[in-house]
Symmetry: C2
């Protein structure tokens, strides 16, 4: 890793990303609740990326990456392997410019997610449900088609795109003490770090992660990359390991990484559904779970939370029996 990597993408790259994607994505609302503020004696601002295109912040990075590609590359399409929101986001972003999106999905992906990728026009190739099969299948497709691989997080244009969520949050909310985001591969977290660093550096960035997928926490406190090993969390967006681009940014700019128990994720998710009347997916509830666990002192503070997405299977909610 080069010394300069901590500051890539730079401020102008993020501003250009925002200009590039703004015609296509939603300016998502920032919601507040007096009842919640009173309960925690704080001011909490929720940036609702569950209302984003494809139901998650991933639309930002994918759109930025696709629209940044040169035309001669775009004609061959884009490709990725993903069973989650990035698959949908890339298929959707490619459809904006009539480009092909080759999506490698594990054969055990949920029917809902497969249907969503197809709806957005994604061309799906199924593979065995393991990383080796995902990578070899993707490599084969890239070779056959000449498509450009768009990694879900370890990609400068993805990071710059995800940074625009925090950019908007900072525009809408003055003087936040903290911005809290969940961390999986670190695309949203590193983008948030950079947006805060360039545009409101007194704000502290706090990440939150499931205890049962605490690789980012371990990497952060040990100051060396530790991969995700057998993550066992319902927060399916947070099972991945950090990347070579995202980790150095996180190491340099994150104030703290908090971990939460699985039962706290369910509790926080349900609390947000009941009190805010918004649908948030388990991964999105993780920062609020850290607040509910009392892992961070927030009395009198102003806290922005990026609610990362709202894609859940309504037939398998974590509080349902037999879910």
């Amino acid at each position: 890793m080069t010394t300069g990597s901590h500051f890539k993408p730079d401020a102008d790259t993020i501003i250009q990303a925002a200009k590039r994607i703004n015609p296509y994505i939603n300016r998502t609302p920032v919601l507040t609740s007096h009842a919640i503020d009173r309960l925690f004696d704080a001011k909490i601002f929720m940036k609702c990326e569950n209302f984003q295109k494809v139901g998650a912040f991933k639309a930002r990075g994918a759109t930025n990456a696709v629209l940044s590609l040169e035309k001669n590359l775009l004609t061959h399409g884009v490709a990725t392997h993903s069973s989650g929101n990035h698959a949908q986001a890339l298929a959707w972003a490619a459809s904006l410019v009539n480009a092909k999106a080759y999506i490698v999905m594990p054969s055990n992906s949920s029917k809902i997610k497969i249907a969503a990728v197809k709806d957005y026009g994604g061309l799906i190739t199924f593979c065995e449900p393991n990383l080796a099969s995902r990578e070899t299948t993707l490599a084969r497709i890239v070779q056959q088609t000449g498509a450009t691989e768009i990694h879900p997080y370890n990609h400068e244009n993805i990071i710059a795109g995800q940074a625009t969520a925090a950019l908007e949050l900072l525009e809408d909310c003055n003087d936040l003490d903290f911005v809290m985001v969940p961390v999986g591969g670190g695309g949203l977290l590193s983008g948030t770090c950079l947006a805060v660093h360039y545009f409101h550096p007194v704000t502290k960035v706090i990440a939150a992660e499931p205890e049962q997928a605490n690789d980012a926490f371990l990497s952060f406190v040990n100051q060396k990359f530790i991969p995700s090993m057998n993550p066992n969390t319902m927060a399916d967006g947070l099972r991945t390991s950090l990347g070579s681009l995202t980790f150095p940014i996180i190491l340099k700019h994150v104030h703290k990484i908090l971990t939460v128990r699985e039962e706290s994720i369910v509790k926080a998710m349900r609390f947000l559904w009941e009190r805010m009347k918004i649908i948030v997916e388990p991964s999105s509830a993780v920062p609020f779970a850290a607040i509910m666990e009392g892992k961070i002192e927030i009395t009198g503070k102003k806290i922005g939370i990026i609610i990362s997405g709202g894609n859940v299977d309504l037939d398998a909610l974590p509080w349902m029996k037999n879910a």
Copy 2:
């Protein structure tokens, strides 16, 4: 009924109601979805009263009614019988001015709703689960305490308060062709009618109702009051009969009342959860169910829908087995 009753409350009463309640209630957002608009080839604007205080538009009317009371009356408190959102709304509104709220609730009310009323400081008296017991219990409490009864919908200040939701919607969305609202007792519908009549009369007001609680539809087409008989719908906010104040307004100003099947309500509710990522209660999904059933031609039109509330029991969703 007097001839003039069709125009009560008047325009200024609604504007005064808005001024009176604005410091206390939420200015709820109007959400849109390009995907939904494309699907129906129309422009749909959802006024999200599920994000309102107490999770429903009822906070508007209750606040207006409580704040309109003279101080010497307020000292004796307010009272109502309700097992639903009005109970919570009145308890909450009374708490704003430290007034007592006596709430008569049927003994079989859901634990969640009882807890919510208690949370807002409501003083609950339980009664038998039938209208006669509700009314006699309420009459006794009013006599004992000197509290002022606040009817959930057949009350001028309630109607004026509910009218402010449509007033805001008209401010935010120009030139709506239709405004659609669900109809139960008609407080929201009659308020919406008056706001549209005074402030944007070319817009047509369309009501929607469950087939299995179609008393408003029958009253409307027969032009005479027909009470709700054994309503059997999951839309628990829409089981009540129209009132002597609300019915004449509805008769004069409503363009159409559409009815929908129970399975359409579930389908519409789930569709809004999945596509909009917002929690809406069954009653709130009824207008959108009418659109999904094709009960109204909306191609190329601009339609406002008032999403009336978001109070649901997350352990008993209509698509759950054994719910």
